[in-house]
Symmetry: C2
DNA sequence: CGCAAGATTGAAGGACATCAAAGGGCGTGG
DNA sequence: CCACGCCCTTTGATGTCCTTCAATCTTGCG
């Protein structure tokens, strides 16, 4: 990956938008680039983060191991997303573990350096505030859904979000852009893989989706949106 | 309420901590103070906020009306908390309605003014970033709980949070500092008032709490924490 | 005292979780 | 290249937690 490519990554990152070119160069110079394989843990739940990480390429899952052995997936991140940002910005311990799902390209900055950059280039802090605020609003939305909606509805919402966030155009619809098992979906919506299997099968019969092994294509977005909002 | 009192409010507010005295005066001068009665709506779900609001005194409930008629309570705010902060900082529409539970004293700043103050006093923006980050982490935690835990466990967690946040010392324990019905708790944890009633009654029998009409006192914090973490 | 709002309690039903077992893809190694 | 084995998926049966409905009881207040 060339320096120009990395600069392109930065340029499109929500944190560094509207940054003057000279400043961008400095951020670039201060960054550390690394590639890591799938199923590698970047941050561990409970740790104090030592660096701020931006995802250049690949998919990262942010999840919690909870008492009783259950695991909850908090977020599925794609290119451009920040990892552990709230912990770094708030100087807080991490509440979740971040693990790569696919091979990934990461950009990182040591915590002190991150704060230093924000101090020197106020636009970055402005962007950070906007990013975290947006993130918080999404969490509010999901909390409301979790509190009031049924499993089928929540599955619909999750798939729509995944499609919008990391979806790929496919023949006959939008495909979720990474291997996604029934278990994975279950951990996102807070249920078990059996319920997910039944729901997806039902939707397949009705022609809303095409579901394969580790693979889901949304065919009829309208109908899925209908399920997401109306519940049936 | 005297000017000195208001300044005291600001001084303790998470957004204006570590602010030089002169700057604090300016913030104070730019602020608008108002008192509003209980059960008044401050922000409406879906609106674009016109001002940033800090809660000086009283209790405010932040809640969503959801399709199907269900309502979910996102947050119960007490003195010092910000209302609609993420929407203002992220220039986003509000995802929830904010309604006063008790009579309240509010401090507010027009949106443009808020951004202007942050621009001129970078410490405020730094504080804002920390505040929103902390808020986001709490939401992550609650999302994980909602996804994996049973109702009784979630009730325990809610009561502990309420006690820590707006609890008052009472004879025999900590009392939740405002009128709180079974229905209110149900909307916080995502269930119905009947389940809440049964659980609270059970806890009363076991001596963990004292539950009255619109009134709850936590007697045995240890045991409630145990329920919150272990599930029984 | 009587009313209204909150709280309790029982019964019945439904959505979901759990357990068990069998049926496919897909990669790997013989 | 085929067969084996692993992992993902499906499907049924069963149990339970929770929701819903209905009715009664309590409490505080006008």
């Amino acid at each position: 990956m060339s320096e120009a490519d990395v600069k392109e990554l930065l340029w499109r990152n929500p944190l560094f938008m509207s940054l003057p070119d000279a400043a961008l160069d400095e951020v670039l110079f201060a960054s550390k680039l690394r590639k890591i394989p799938a199923k590698t843990t970047i941050f561990h739940q409970g740790d104090i983060p030592k660096e701020m990480v931006a995802l250049g390429n690949g998919i990262v899952k942010v999840w919690q191991m909870r008492s009783g052995g259950a695991t909850a997936t908090i977020h599925v991140l794609g290119p451009g997303d920040l990892i552990g940002a709230t912990a770094v910005f708030g100087r807080l311990p991490l509440l979740a573990t971040a693990t790569t799902v696919t091979d990934c390209v990461l950009l990182s900055w040591a915590v002190a350096l991150t704060h230093d950059l924000m101090e020197r280039f106020p636009v970055i802090r402005l962007n950070a505030l906007g990013y975290v605020s947006l993130h918080a609003e999404e969490l509010v939305q999901r909390l409301g859904e979790m509190a009031t909606e049924r499993v089928e509805q929540r599955i619909a919402r999750s798939l729509l979000r995944l499609a919008d966030h990391i979806g790929l155009a496919a023949s006959g619809g939008v495909e979720i852009g990474y291997p996604l098992s029934r278990q994975d979906i279950a951990e996102i919506v807070g249920t078990d893989l059996y319920v997910v299997s039944r729901v997806l099968h039902d939707w397949t019969d009705r022609g809303f989706i095409m579901a394969g092994r580790l693979r889901i294509i949304l065919c009829d977005r309208e109908r899925i949106e209908q399920i997401a909002t109306e519940g049936r």
